[in-house]
Structures are given as C-alpha cells and as structure tokens.
C-alpha cells in the first residue's frame, strides 16, 4: 500500500465507517475492513479499479467522484477520505462542502505545489513543473486545481473548518523529517490533513 495510505489507515483507527473518494484498487478500504474492523464504501472512476475493488470484496460505486458523492446519504460515515485527488476535481470547494455533509471528520491529502523544487523548476527553467507526485505534462494532466499548502489552508479556514491535525510528507509519501516543519509550504512535498468543523462561536446574549 502507498505510504500515505498507511498514514491514513492509522488516523482512521478501528471500527469506523469510512468513505474513500477515489479509492483506486481498494487497498486502503480492504485494510480498514479486514484488519481494523471498519465498514466502508469507495468511489472509483476507473473500470479496472472498480473490478479490483469487487475482487477484494470492497463495496464500491463506479463513477465520477463529484457525481457519486452527491448521491450519498448525509452523516452516513465517520470519516470521508480524499487521497491525492482534490487537485483533480472540477470543484474543490464544493467537494469539501459535500465531504462535510457526509462525515464529521475528513482526511484530505494533497501534493504541495509550493515545494521548492517545483518553484525552482518554474523560476529557473521556465517550464511547468513536474515531480514524482505530479508526473504529467501540462497538456495532459488530470490535475487541474493544483495548490500550495498555504492555499489549501486558506480554503479550509474560509469554509468554517479547522485543521485538527497535519502530517507533512516527504518525496516518498512518508512523514517528513523535522526540517520540513521549519517552512512547510516550501519544504514539504505534500501533507495529510484531518479536518473537522470549526466549533460554533459562542453567542453572548446581551440583556
């Protein structure tokens, strides 16, 4: 399993109800179901991914993530997971809202377009950057909404959510070393975020 998915599995814990958006071959959900006592559902666009999930016994809906997400019942899950996919959806802000609707806690991982290597590639070579996490050339990439960690955290704040936890990732998808924490938006290759709703602000009655 991808290292970042191991991290997600550890965050989810046991006996939870999990929605995995863009679940690929179902490896994360299979682990959660068989080893961590969870129940779950995946959404996967690719036909091969869908068949792989069926073969693993992972419940899955085949189709467009944004379309299928809208079909799911509200508050049906403990966790909604979106792994390295936010940058490929048409309406990232809308997806964040829909994820809030279906689950009280969300895990979102994303590549950091503010990483120094990518910045350098654009600045020095004058070319659209690519990396291990972002291997496509500009004209064929599915990643239409790339952002930096700072951009993402601003969007989170604007949507009345708070970051409960943030794990910075290195180039291999594993938790990054201490150095990355000095300047995450420059030094981390990506990050895994745990989001929850902002606590409702206390209203003081006057009178």
């Amino acid at each position: 399993m991808r290292p970042d998915l191991n991290l997600v599995a550890a965050l989810v814990g046991r006996d939870a109800r999990v929605l995995d958006l863009g679940c690929g071959d179902g490896a994360l959900l299979e682990q959660l179901i068989t080893r961590q006592g969870c129940t779950g559902h995946g959404i996967e666009r690719s036909i091969e991914g869908f068949h792989a999930c069926i073969a693993r016994g992972v419940p899955v809906s085949q189709g467009d993530l944004e379309r299928e997400l809208g079909e799911l019942p509200s508050d049906a899950y403990d966790w909604a997971v979106l792994s390295l996919t936010l940058q490929a959806v048409r309406h990232p802000a809308r997806v964040l809202v829909e994820m809030r609707r279906v689950a009280p806690r969300r895990i979102i991982s994303l590549p950091n377009f503010g990483h120094w290597r990518l910045r350098a590639e654009l600045a020095l070579r004058g070319r659209m950057p690519s990396s291990r996490a972002l291997p496509y050339s500009w004209h064929e990439t599915p990643n239409i909404h790339l952002c930096t960690l700072r951009d993402f955290e601003l969007l989170v704040a604007e949507s009345d959510q708070v970051v409960e936890r943030r794990v910075l990732l290195d180039g291999s998808g594993r938790p990054a070393g201490r150095t990355a924490r000095l300047e995450p938006n420059l030094l981390a290759t990506g990050a895994v975020y745990v989001l929850r709703d902002a606590a409702p602000t206390e209203t003081v009655s006057s009178g």
Partner: protein, 388 residues
C-alpha cells in the same frame, strides 16, 4: 467461455404447500395447494453452500438455461448461465423457479381452486413480492440448500432479491439486483395500468373466467405485451433494429395495416406472447410490482437494514428508461444509509431495459467478479456446524 452452454434440461414440479402446511400470504389469504415448476443446473455441494438462486422477471419462467430438446431454442438467461459463464454451472448450483401467480407450471390464477375444482381466475388472492419470495424459500429448503451464495434477478427478479434479503436475514450471502426498482414511478404504474386496461376491456376477458371458453382475451394480452415491450427497448435500439424500414413491400402502402418493420415486430411479439402467457398472471404480477415499496416504512426499514448481512451488487443500464439509473440509485442510497455493503455501477448498453438479458461483456464481467468474491468468502468461512 464455453460456446456450447448447457445441454438438455428438464422442468420439474414439486408441491411445496398443501392442506397441512398452507401458504399464508401477506394479505392474510391462504393457499392450500402450491405447486412449483423449477429447474436446476450444476451440482449442489455436500455442504449445500454453492447455490445461486435466479429470480425471473414479469414474463419469465423456470426455463432459464439449456434447452428442452431443440438446442437452438434456449432458456431466457442462457447467455449468463452455463459452464464457464458468469453463473458457472461447473461451480455453482443454479436454481430457477416460475413465480407464484405465474402461468408456466407454478400455481397461479389458471390453476384449479381446491375448494371448487374450477380455475381461480380473479378469485386468486392478490400477491405481494414477499409472497413470491416465501415460495422461493420453501423450494430452497426442499432442495436441501443452506445459506444461498447469492440470489440474482433483473427487473421484477431484482425486486424479489431485495425483498428476500430485507425480510430474511441470514439467507443470502449476496444479492445481485439488476435493472430493478424499489418503487415504481407514476410513469411505470401508468404503463402498467394501460396494459391491464387492454386485458380487462377485451370482450373475451369475461371477468377473468375465460379458461373454459373458446376465446380468451388474446387481443388485450397481445396489446399489453406490445405496450410493455416498447418500454423494454430504447429509442436507439429500435432505430438500429428497425429504422423506418417498410415490411414486405418496396414502397409504403400508406394504409392502416402493418407497414413499418417495427409494427410487424410488435405485432409478432404480441401474437407469440399469448401462446405462452396467461392474461390473469399479467394482471397479478404487474399489480404486485405497482405496490412494491420495501423501503416505504422508515422505521421497519431501519430495523431490517440493521439486521441485514447480505452484500449487494446493484446494476443499471444507461439506456434503460423503464427502470432508469435513478431507480438503482434509490436502492443504493437506502442500503448505504443502512450501512449495508453495496456496490453499484451504471453499465453502458444500448438495449434499454432488456439489456439485463443481453450478453454485455462488462455486465457479465461484473456479475462474474462479484460471484467469485462471494465464493471466495464462502470457502474461507467455517463450515456449518454439525451439531455441537
């Protein structure tokens, strides 16, 4: 995949309910003699754990696969059932029975009422989908099957699978619901109402007591079939199959007789249908579909879903406008909301509602994959305890 399919098969008859063990219907009505026509393919394992039950749709019967003597005339789901096919009869024991209220060997309105010796006609009690399921369950018990590996059905067949899993936890490991609905739309009911009107307004209908008569409501039943058949096809499949071609003539005759090929086809569908189908069965089964609403009571639904241990595969076809993908999504939403393991896919196929009967490769691959997984899980599960 085997090209030859199953060989010769036979329909068998069994009495499942009698005076000592009556069938009590959801309405409270009782049937004191219920005979069922069924077929089986493949071999039941020693532990009875490899059985897959096939539920047929409105106009189907027990003869799902193989042939009755003429290898060219094969069962209605022959492309799905057989050696090497998705319902692989080298591995699975496949059962299909004509439903209660049917007219192809199972007790229905054409059967004699034991109280009078005369055919029931419209004195046959109203049926619910759950009543059809009760008879399937009795057959499963009679055949010595334990927990079913799966039950599969398209359209009305899928409704039976859904009802079965909801009402009887523990009996189905897997439920495969294809081109079905949990609740007919007003448009569905409207088509079904027109079909029933066509039958009941036929002068030969005689209030349902036409069995001894020289003439039966053939015109009405044929018309009902023609209406139904239009809803089973898609506009695209009709265009591809018939276009606007003229039948048996170089130029349009421009009268009111059959001129277009599609008219000829529909007429043939109607005329051949009356040879094998009973008008009263059409009334009873379409009515059972109209009232089907297994998720209608939210409290009961929540309780049933909490007890459910069936894993579902729900499939729809993009060209099906009788039970469109929206119907399938409604089923998925209800199951998912109840934390039932459900997989869903809208398949692409041009044949409209009838797609579920067609050998669409991705459809068959999905069914085969889902059954394979159920088989794997059944094999790793501990054997049924032998007593202590």
């Amino acid at each position: 995949m085997s090209e030859s399919g199953l060989g010769r098969v036979e329909t068998q008859l069994v009495v499942l309910f009698d005076g000592d063990d009556e069938l009590v219907l959801e309405s409270g009505a009782r049937l004191t003699h219920v005979e069922v026509a069924y077929e089986t393919y493949g071999t039941l394992d020693a532990d009875g754990a490899n059985a897959v039950y096939v539920c047929h749709a409105l106009t189907g019967d027990a003869h799902a696969a193989g042939h009755h003597g003429d290898p060219a005339r094969r069962g209605w789901w022959d492309n799905l059932i057989g050696p090497g096919r998705p319902l692989d009869t080298d591995r699975f024991f496949v059962v299909c029975a004509n439903v209660l209220g049917g007219c192809r060997g199972t007790t229905g309105p054409a059967s004699p009422d034991p109280a009078t010796g005369e055919p029931y006609g419209l004195r046959f009690p109203q049926l619910a989908v759950g009543d059809l399921v009760q008879v399937h369950r009795a057959l499963v018990r009679r055949l010595g099957i334990g927990r079913l590996l799966g039950a599969i059905g398209g359209s009305l067949g899928g409704m039976q699978v859904l009802q079965w899993a909801l009402d009887h936890p523990g009996e189905l490991a897997g439920g495969l619901v294809v081109a079905a609905s949990a609740r007919l739309s007003p448009q569905n009911i409207a088509f079904s109402a027109v079909a029933r009107e066509a039958i009941m307004r036929d002068p030969d209908f005689a209030g349902g007591d036409y069995y001894g008569n020289a003439r039966r409501p053939d015109h009405g039943l044929a018309l009902a079939r023609m209406i139904g058949h239009i809803t089973y096809l898609s506009e695209e499949s009709m265009r591809a199959r018939f276009g606007r071609r003229i039948q048996d003539a170089a130029a349009p005759r421009r009268g009111f007789e059959v001129d277009f090929e599609v008219e000829s086809y529909l007429r043939y569908q109607g005329e051949s249908f009356v040879e094998r189908f009973d008008a009263n069965t059409y009334l009873y089964l379409t009515r059972a579909m109209d009232y089907f609403d297994p998720f209608g009571d939210a409290v009961a639904t929540a309780r049933k879903l909490a007890a459910m241990d069936t894993r579902f595969l729900v499939l729809s076809f993009d060209s099906d406008w009788r039970f469109s993908t929206e119907h399938a999504r409604e089923i998925v939403r209800a199951l998912e909301g109840g934390r039932v393991a459900v997989s869903f896919r809208e398949l692409s196929a041009p044949h409209g509602h009838d797609s579920f009967l067609m050998p669409v490769p991705e459809y068959h691959r999905t069914v085969a994959g889902f059954l394979e997984r159920l088989a794997v899980e059944a094999a790793v599960a501990p054997l049924v305890a032998g007593g202590g």
